[in-house]
């Protein structure tokens, strides 16, 4: 028990050295105990940058990743800046993930460099709930700038990674300064007793987490308030989200 408290105090010490400028340690919990338990502080750090990507086809369209980001942004409760270079985001879907159209400011940033610059402006401003950018490449230096901007203003930064080709998703392994990195893959939807498509499900993988360990979860996709759901899958007898530890 004593060693535990020593480790905690050491962690706090390192935290102080690492982020002197961090204004708050506020977090945004997912509301799912198993998921929040894996995140330091019990939720997504508010004043930090987070990355969301997909695999296979989802790496190209980034649909699930965008909805996951929308769900997080919806729960911050302020205006949201959404910067993109390709205008194929469909706003009604954001509304169905809890992000009302009045809250979202869309920026057509022209190219990747423009997205980076606009995202940084949004993070520096400080009045937004969250700033989201859709990017293929996120170099270390750029991510560091975004992370510092998010720390300084306390705005939640989200980067939806989407690539031109499914193979490019391998670039997701390259390190960035983001606090967490998520990989979202669609799973077959919740079975219904009748023919039809049930509530979508995702495999949510916490690939990297600063100050925490990676893990993978299977959850139900965002509801109209942007909250993820846990399975109540009586079919295989488990009544909680299935969490498996993964090597990070």
């Amino acid at each position: 028990m004593r060693s535990r408290s020593a480790i905690d105090s050491l962690r706090a010490e390192i935290g102080r050295i690492e982020s002197v400028r961090r204004r708050s340690a506020a977090v945004l919990p997912f509301g799912i105990a198993l998921l929040d338990a894996h995140l330091p502080g019990g939720g997504l750090a508010q004043a930090a940058l987070h990355e969301v990507g997909g695999t296979g086809n989802a790496a190209v369209d980034g649909a699930a990743a965008a909805l996951f980001a929308a769900g997080i942004a919806a729960r911050t409760g302020g205006p949201v800046l959404w910067c993109h270079a390709r205008a194929d985001l469909f706003a009604p879907a954001l509304a169905q993930a809890g992000l009302a159209p009045d809250r979202v400011i869309h920026v057509e940033a022209g190219d990747e460099a423009g997205v980076l610059a606009c995202l940084e402006e949004g993070l520096r401003h400080g009045g937004l709930g969250a700033a989201v950018g859709e990017l293929a490449r996120l170099p270390m230096v750029a991510s560091r700038r975004l992370q510092l901007a998010a720390e300084a203003s306390g705005t939640l930064g989200l980067v939806v990674r989407r690539w031109r080709r499914p193979g490019d998703a391998a670039l997701f392994a390259q390190p960035t300064a983001a606090a967490t990195r998520w990989r979202i893959a669609p799973l077959p939807s919740t079975p219904l007793p009748v023919p039809g498509v049930g509530r979508p499900r995702w495999r949510v993988e916490l690939v990297r987490c600063r100050g925490g360990e990676g893990a993978a979860f299977e959850v139900e996709a965002c509801d109209e308030q942007g909250r993820l759901g846990v399975f109540a899958d009586l079919g295989d007898g488990s009544a909680a989200a299935r969490g498996t530890h993964a090597a990070a």
Binding site: G56, N57, A58, D61, G62, A63, A64, A65, A66, L67, F68, A70, G78, P79, L81, A87, D88, L89, F90, A91, P92, A93, L94, A95, Q96, A100, P101, D102, V104, I105, H106, V107, E108, A109, G110, D111, A113, G114, A117, C118, E121, H125, G126, G127, L128, I184, A185, P186, L187, P188, S189, P195, G196, V197, G198, P200, R201, W202, A221, E224
Partner: protein, 498 residues
């Protein structure tokens, strides 16, 4: 622009009771004599000339209306007319006593060319009741002469033909003192061209350097700068430098100072800037202007300096900047407003500054919000609204799931399906065959028959399908599956769900 009867027209506007066909002359003192200083068209027709003694004019024409001339008032009115003409071009000056000079460079394309622009300006002046003659030429001197002594009331001379047009001008058109013109006539010269063909040195010795200067100005051999009038209502801040500046940091420093000055002036008037021009005048007399726009009127010096700072890299200082000018070209009322209140709800964050910054970035194509439209056709159910528009409170119906990504153009797919209302069993999109595990639908969308004729009977049946890997797609069949008139019965993929 030449206003031949400016003074009398001005008087007639001030005294509308004066009958329009009565001859009118304005008299004033010249030394100890009372002489005619201006005469209108009717008076000139009866033989009255400017410079004639007042008594002689009265004797010449019966019923001549005589008023006191007001040269200072005419001059001031001409300046006001020049300010009015600023709407046509940023460089306008009064050319006293009876003209305006307008630099149309870079402004004519807004009016569809040089001739339509000249016509438009002349018509507006004429509509206000002033006699007007106008000419457009490559130099101020030539245009001045053509307007007063050319044959047509509206003359446009292309830049290359300016020298030829100037050569045909009479001596009186050269803006020389009357005595010089008379002496040259005695020597036998009649036109500017004849004069220009003579050896220069003897003429200058005889008549002074002004003659050569005026000739060169008319032929465009000497630059004749126009000192533009300034709109007194326009807030500006200007700084001239003893030593030309060029370094971006220095420019940035002075932009900051001028922005503070400009904002102080705007505050004194209760205005906020919506558009600010930053103009640099370089040592070599060329100029460059950069503009920034604001989404809402604003007079925050730090924010303005920051917006302008992003335009500094686009400036080319050349050999150095002599003067730096900031002008608020578009303004709007901006009253003081309480921002912090401990009583009510927490204040809404102000994002207008952020939107300004984003809009002024060169690579940004648009900053907007999206609002719902009452349309069943998916691609028409969204519209863009201003990023700072008041909240609409509207949203889309939540009962039907919508895909996170909507393809700009539905993509054709190969599908096998039972008609009329089953989702496909399998489909091929972008070369990948997918077996459909689950499907929802159809959601039938009818064409907007009330708005568009080709859509009178058009139908799309949308299905949400899920393949074996769990990926969910939004596909539709053109047509209702029974009647060929409703669509081609081909399948398309329109969106991707997360």
């Amino acid at each position: 622009m030449f206003l031949p009867t400016w003074a009398t027209d001005r008087l007639r506007r001030a005294e509308p009771t004066l009958p329009p066909d009565t001859p009118l002359a304005l008299v004033g003192r010249e030394g100890r004599r009372r002489v005619v200083l201006a005469a209108d068209r009717a008076a000139q027709g009866s033989g009255i000339r400017v410079g004639m003694a007042a008594a002689q004019a009265q004797a010449l024409v019966a019923g001549l209306e005589i008023r006191d001339a007001d040269p200072a008032g005419d001059r001031a009115a001409l300046e006001r007319l020049a300010v009015w003409a600023l709407r046509f071009s940023p460089v306008v000056a009064a050319d006293p006593p009876d003209g305006l000079v307008i630099d149309t460079t870079g402004a004519d394309h807004l009016f569809g060319g040089e001739a339509p622009m000249l016509e438009s300006i002349a018509h507006r002046i004429a509509a206000a009741g002033y006699g007007v003659r106008a000419a457009l030429a490559g130099t101020w001197g030539a245009a001045h002469g053509l307007a007063r002594h050319g044959g047509q009331p509206l003359a446009v001379v292309p830049g290359a033909a300016t020298a030829r047009a100037a050569a045909s001008l009479p001596l009186a058109a050269l803006r020389l003192p009357t005595a010089t013109v008379a002496a040259l006539k005695v020597l036998g010269f009649r036109s500017a061209g004849e004069l220009a063909a003579q050896p220069r040195a003897p003429l200058v010795r005889r008549f002074g350097p002004e003659l050569a200067l005026r000739l060169d100005q008319a032929f465009g051999r000497v630059e004749e700068p126009i000192v533009p009038v300034r709109d007194p209502d326009r807030a500006t801040a200007r700084r001239a430098f003893a030593e030309p500046i060029a370094a971006p940091e220095t420019i940035g420093k002075y932009v900051g100072k001028l922005a503070a000055e400009l904002c102080a002036r705007l505050e004194a008037r209760g205005l906020g800037a919506r558009r600010v021009e930053m103009r640099i005048d370089r040592v070599d007399r060329s100029a460059q202007t950069e503009r920034v726009g604001m989404a809402v009127p604003m007079r925050d010096a730090a924010r303005l300096a920051r917006l302008l700072g992003e335009a500094i890299p686009r400036l080319d200082p050349g050999f150095g900047i002599e003067t730096l000018t900031l002008a608020a070209t578009e303004t709007g009322p901006l009253a003081a407003r309480q921002t912090v209140s401990s009583l009510g709800a927490p204040p809404q964050p102000d994002v207008s500054g952020l939107i300004d910054t984003l809009l002024n970035r060169a690579e940004v194509r648009g900053v907007h919000r999206v609002a719902p439209v009452q349309s069943d056709v998916p691609e028409r159910s969204v519209r863009r609204i201003d990023a700072l528009a008041p909240a609409t409170g509207d949203t889309w119906p939540q009962s039907w799931p919508r895909p996170a990504r909507l393809l700009a153009r539905p993509e054709s797919i190969e599908a096998m399906a039972l008609l009329p209302d089953h989702p496909p069993v399998a489909f091929t999109w972008r070369g990948v065959r997918r077996r459909v595990r689950r499907g929802d639908g159809p959601e039938r969308v009818f064409g907007e028959w009330w708005a568009r004729d080709p859509e009178r009977v058009a139908v799309r049946d949308y299905f949400r399908v899920e393949d074996e890997g769990g990926e969910r797609f939004w596909i539709f069949r053109a047509g209702d599956g029974e009647d060929a008139a409703t669509g081609s019965h081909r399948w398309f993929l329109h969106g991707i769900f997360g």
